[in-house]
């Protein structure tokens, strides 16, 4: 459990590391209902000029969401916003970065503002954004 009093600017959530596979893209297509062939049909993706199938942006945001809730707790997120900067490719190692930017209290809410990012092993940023979570104070 993350307590508001313990949060410091610069604190980081545990990093999630995931190597993207084509199987991930098929599983995400099925779970999300997003059957854009660019994400699962290599023949069509190559015909469209892509080097291979590539990841759903929302899969990347989902990985980042998991890192976020690992840290602040499921159900604690108040806002989660990202920009999709680059495509993700099978075989790439994707790493999450969730860092505390600030804390503030508004009435009964104790809020933690975070910078969120997903990047590959070379540091290329795939997804970048911000989140806010409401976390409890110590009893």
């Amino acid at each position: 459990m993350l307590w508001f009093e313990d949060v410091q600017v610069g604190d980081e959530a545990p990093v999630r590391v995931h190597v993207l596979t084509r199987t991930d893209l098929v599983a995400y297509a099925g779970a999300s209902g997003d059957f854009n062939p660019m994400h699962h049909d290599e023949v069509k993706a190559v015909a469209a000029g892509q080097p291979s199938v590539f990841g759903h942006g929302m899969f990347s945001m989902g990985l980042l969401g998991a890192a976020l809730t690992d840290y602040v707790g499921a159900g604690a997120v108040r806002r989660f916003q990202v920009r999709f900067a680059k495509q993700t490719w099978p075989g790439e190692e994707l790493r999450t970065s969730v860092v505390v930017r600030g804390t503030r209290s508004e009435e009964d809410d104790h809020l933690v503002d975070l910078d969120v990012r997903l990047h590959n092993a070379a540091g290329e940023v795939k997804v970048v954004g911000q989140a806010t979570a409401a976390v409890p104070v110590r009893p």
Binding site: D24, A27, A31, Q81
Partner: protein, 165 residues
């Protein structure tokens, strides 16, 4: 002069849907985003984390319309097509690529397995920019989700889609 496909698109209703949030689908979705937390699978773990039920992962609202939108629940005025598709189809006919540019969620409370939620989607913005020799057409769709029984707000999803010519 040709009619601009973006004329009049702001304010267009893109969706009106009622969904049931199902426990099995929540667990499947959590697995699909590589989240193995027991709170998405075991009500005892959710309860131990102080939650009123099994929550959905934060990006779940993006996919809610694709599961549990049973016919008997659907509003009479549900639009049949999507305004975004209608707007972008003429652009796509000339080639180019559709990209998901940005995504935002605001949560008033967690989405829980067992919820019955009503979603209303509206085009809230549409504009063009030139970028590195490409014409980029941006359409923003906001979907407001409320508890179907109480009308209480649950979450708002904002999607920015781009057509790159």
């Amino acid at each position: 002069m040709t009619e601009d496909v973006l004329d009049g698109i702001v304010g267009t209703r893109t969706s009106h849907v009622v969904v049931t949030v199902e426990r099995g689908h929540v667990a499947t979705f959590a697995s699909a985003v590589k989240d193995d937390s027991p709170v998405y699978r075991d009500p005892r773990a959710a309860s131990a984390a102080g939650l009123a039920g099994i929550p959905a992962p934060p990006t779940y609202p993006f996919v809610m319309e694709h599961n549990g939108a049973y016919p008997e629940l659907q509003p009479q005025d549900a639009p049949t097509g999507s305004a975004v598709v209608t707007a972008l189809a003429p652009l796509l006919a000339g080639g180019g690529l559709i990209l998901h540019g940005e995504q935002e969620f605001e949560y008033h409370r967690p989405v829980f397995a067992g919820d019955v939620l009503e979603g209303i989607g509206t085009v809230t913005d549409a504009y063009r920019k030139e970028s590195r020799g490409h014409t980029m057409t941006f359409v923003v769709v906001e979907t407001v989700w409320t508890d179907h029984a109480s009308g209480e707000p649950v979450c708002t999803s904002r999607m920015n889609v781009i057509h790159r010519a």
